[in-house]
């Protein structure tokens, strides 16, 4: 069970030495209880109390890391776990669930491996592959074939530990997810996981079944576990995943592990995978490589895992909409993603070419940024000059959002050789404005 701030305080030295950076031991204890600091910041806590505190301060959902053939670093690892809330607005969701494609053929692996899609300036990709085989030889061959094409982390699927062993032996230095242990084979699976140090799934239909297996396997010395609740039924999985997350957050250690979702087994894969992304999965297996489905899921995952306190920002810069020419109009807005999209979409949808200058307004919308002093004449002028807009256009005319019409005078002073125009307040009125007022 998690300890309260007072309980933690009793285990601290209570000397108020301030070396942890907090004025009192009590203040430090409160921060520990809120999981906002590490116990290691206190140099004087006794070993005995440290053990007790470590147990209680362990994250409610264990962090599980899969490693691929490229080792640690970008693209080489997939992490799940360490989540602390039920709803993203309470804090944020941390580790985006890994998307794994089930291997059907060598061609599909190559296509999925090469897949990359740009979303608000980020390149999104899949995380790895899941492969299944029914004999050790077949597993070894499949792993070799897949490794010839991709280094991404793998999920190896078989009920037979020997088959998984054959796969693991082809992957020196890697940590694939072994899938997995059930009530019939758990002892051998635990032994294999212990030897190779790879995380292991436990498979059962009920929460009691899952908890029973994790406790037995943990007793054998394997701690990196993942739960496979064996359902892709929308109603059942929503209830089960919610219950598992709740129990974990209430420090039920036996289910404090990430969840593996086989969305590939669902009646509607998109519906199941969307649910798994929003509702608590740590790893998601998809049936095949289908770009349009993957694009939707990768975007949804970015959206749901955005920190609600830090809105997605667009890279400041000059954006070309509908292949603008030198005589096309120059529009200005902020780098709050929704603001950017509202403007870009309207102009793009109307088929009008334009240069869109996105100013660094620290991710705030036009009015908010203006009120906070992050979107003023100086910043706009800096952007216009910094992105060298003048070199791209033949007509030095810039359109301000209507909400900051008040800036036009100052901007004229900052950009003396530019014509400053005030556009509409709302993006939706931009196309009409551009057609009527800018010709």
């Amino acid at each position: 069970m998690a300890l309260s701030g007072i309980q933690i305080y009793k285990l601290l030295p209570q000397t108020n030495c301030k070396e942890c950076g907090f004025p009192t031991c009590l203040a430090f204890a409160m921060k520990l209880a809120a999981k906002q600091v590490e116990l290691s910041a206190c140099p004087y806590v006794t070993e005995e109390n440290k053990a007790q505190l470590a147990e209680s301060s362990a994250p409610p959902i264990r962090l599980i890391t899969l490693t691929g053939g490229a080792g640690k670093g970008a693209g080489g690892e997939v992490k799940a776990g360490n989540e602390v809330v039920m709803y993203r607005h309470e804090k944020t969701f941390y580790n985006k669930p890994g998307l794994f494609i089930r291997v059907q053929s060598a061609e599909s692996v190559a296509a999925a491996e090469a897949y990359k899609v740009n979303y608000v300036g980020m390149d999104l990709t899949i995380d790895g592959f899941a492969l299944e085989a029914d004999s050790p030889t077949a597993m070894a061959e499949t792993v070799q074939a897949v490794r010839a094409v991709t280094k991404r982390p793998l999920i190896l699927i078989s009920q037979n530990p020997e088959v998984l062993q054959a796969g693991v032996s082809q992957l020196p230095g890697e940590k694939p997810l072994l899938c997995g242990a059930d009530a019939s084979n758990w002892e051998n699976m635990a032994a294999l996981a212990k030897t190779c140090g790879c995380p292991l799934t436990v498979r059962a239909e009920s929460i009691d079944g899952l908890a029973d297996l994790t406790e037995k396997i943990k007793a054998k010395g394997v701690e990196d576990l993942v739960l496979d609740p064996m359902t892709a039924h929308l109603g059942k999985s929503l209830a089960l995943y919610t219950q598992l997350r709740r129990l974990a957050l209430k420090n039920t250690r036996s289910v404090g592990y990430p969840i593996l979702s086989f969305a590939c087994n669902a009646t509607d894969e998109l519906a199941a995978a969307s649910q798994a992304i929003a509702k608590y999965a740590g790893f998601i297996v998809l049936s095949e490589f289908r770009p349009e489905l993957l694009y939707a899921l990768l975007v949804l995952r970015e959206n749901i895992y955005t920190d609600p306190q830090k809105p997605i920002q667009v890279q400041p810069g000059i954006y070309e909409i509908n292949a603008p020419k030198p005589e096309s109009p120059v529009l200005v807005t902020t780098n709050f993603s929704i603001t950017y999209f509202a403007v870009a979409n309207e102009v793009e949808g109307a088929g009008l070419p334009a240069w869109l200058v996105v100013c660094d307004a620290e991710g705030m919308s036009v009015l908010t940024a203006w009120a906070a002093g992050k979107f003023d004449a100086e910043r706009i002028a800096k952007a216009i000059r910094g992105f060298d807009v003048a070199s791209k256009v033949s007509k030095k005319r810039v359109v301000l959002p209507g909400h900051v019409a008040v800036l036009s005078g100052e901007l004229e002073a900052e950009l003396p050789d530019w014509e400053i125009r005030v556009g509409p307040r709302e993006a939706v009125d931009l196309p009409a404005f551009m057609k009527q007022a800018l010709n």
Binding site: D208, L238, T242, A271, S274, I304
Partner: protein, 314 residues
């Protein structure tokens, strides 16, 4: 030792709201739609049964749309030529109700005529939304509300700028309002307070918290809806209303749905992507508590309906 499943003990409940009135109730609808009544977060049947599953509305327009995706235009074909044939086609496609969206070009007479045509073509409940400019909405919706007195229409868009007029006509003519606020818990609540202060019974209010499509701000809509629903369950009376989301409107205005050429190959098949965009948006918002989803494509209706059926069984 078996693990005890933790259950939330909520004190509040979402209000039950019925759209449409049968002949016995003073209208002409052959079917009505009832939403709300939840006493827990969406579909957690182990805590409370879900009394009314989410309802799927299909959006139709008073005149053929000029800016819709070619995919939608092709799918509906000739049906979009008039609201009556469109309504019949939408009912055949699985709609449980319609949202008739009026346009800026409509005169009050044309709007009324379109509403009569839809009411005549189908017995399903109807929502009528104005084009979204407060003055025009008032002009059209007052005429519509009077002409369809007693039908328990859902009138929108009722927002801070025009709620007085819309609520007054809903009160006078036995209709409901769809209270729209821009993605903010407090603004939603404030509008609901203003509307109930005018004397409109609370079981005649649906709230539209506004949302964005997948990739275009869905996370804001999603979290606002979760927070509104949690607040309702915690007992805040002014958030205990069923929620409507205009999924089709949001999803089909994205480039992903609208544009088939000159987009990255990684976006995949256009037709499939466009429909997936609508379904992905719908399914995510259903998990956040959406009660009425306004969709545009028949395939989305079919698949979202199947998903709801699965969510309703455990």
């Amino acid at each position: 030792m078996p693990i005890e499943i933790p259950k939330e003990k909520w004190t509040g409940k979402v209000r039950v709201v019925t759209l449409g009135a049968t002949a016995a109730e003073g209208g002409t609808r052959t079917r009505v739609v009832t939403v709300g009544g939840q006493a827990c977060m969406p579909f957690l049947h182990f805590e409370h049964p879900t009394p009314h599953p989410p309802v799927l509305a299909i959006e139709i327009k008073s005149r053929p749309p000029t800016d819709w995706s070619p995919i939608l235009m092709e799918t509906w074909g000739e049906a979009i030529r008039n609201p009556a044939t469109w309504a019949a086609a939408a009912e055949a496609a699985g709609a449980e109700m319609f949202v008739l969206w009026l346009t800026l070009e409509d005169t009050p007479e044309e709007a009324t005529q379109a509403v009569r045509a839809v009411l005549g073509a189908s017995g399903l409940p109807l929502a009528v939304f104005g084009p979204g400019q407060a003055e025009k909405d008032n002009e059209l919706l007052v005429a519509v509300a009077e002409a369809a007195k007693g039908e328990r229409l859902l009138l929108g868009i009722c927002e801070d700028k025009n709620y007085r007029t819309i609520v007054a006509t809903a009160l006078a003519n036995g209709h409901l309002v769809s209270a729209r606020s821009p993605m903010d818990v407090n603004l939603a609540k404030q509008l609901n307070i203003l509307i109930t202060d005018m004397g409109l019974p609370a079981d005649r209010i649906i709230m539209d918290p506004t949302t964005g499509a997948l990739g275009y701000g869905i996370e804001y809509g999603y979290s606002v809806m979760e927070r509104l629903r949690l607040s309702a369950l915690q007992g805040d009376s002014m958030t205990q209303f069923p929620m409507l989301v205009t999924v089709g409107f949001e999803a089909w205005k994205t480039k992903e749905a609208k544009v088939g050429e000159g987009v990255p190959a990684s976006w995949g098949d256009w037709q499939q992507r466009a429909i997936d965009w609508e379904i992905g948006t719908a399914m995510t918002l259903i998990e956040a508590g959406a009660d009425i989803l306004v969709l545009r494509h028949p395939e989305s209706v079919k698949r979202v309906k199947a998903a709801i059926t699965e969510l309703m069984t455990a």
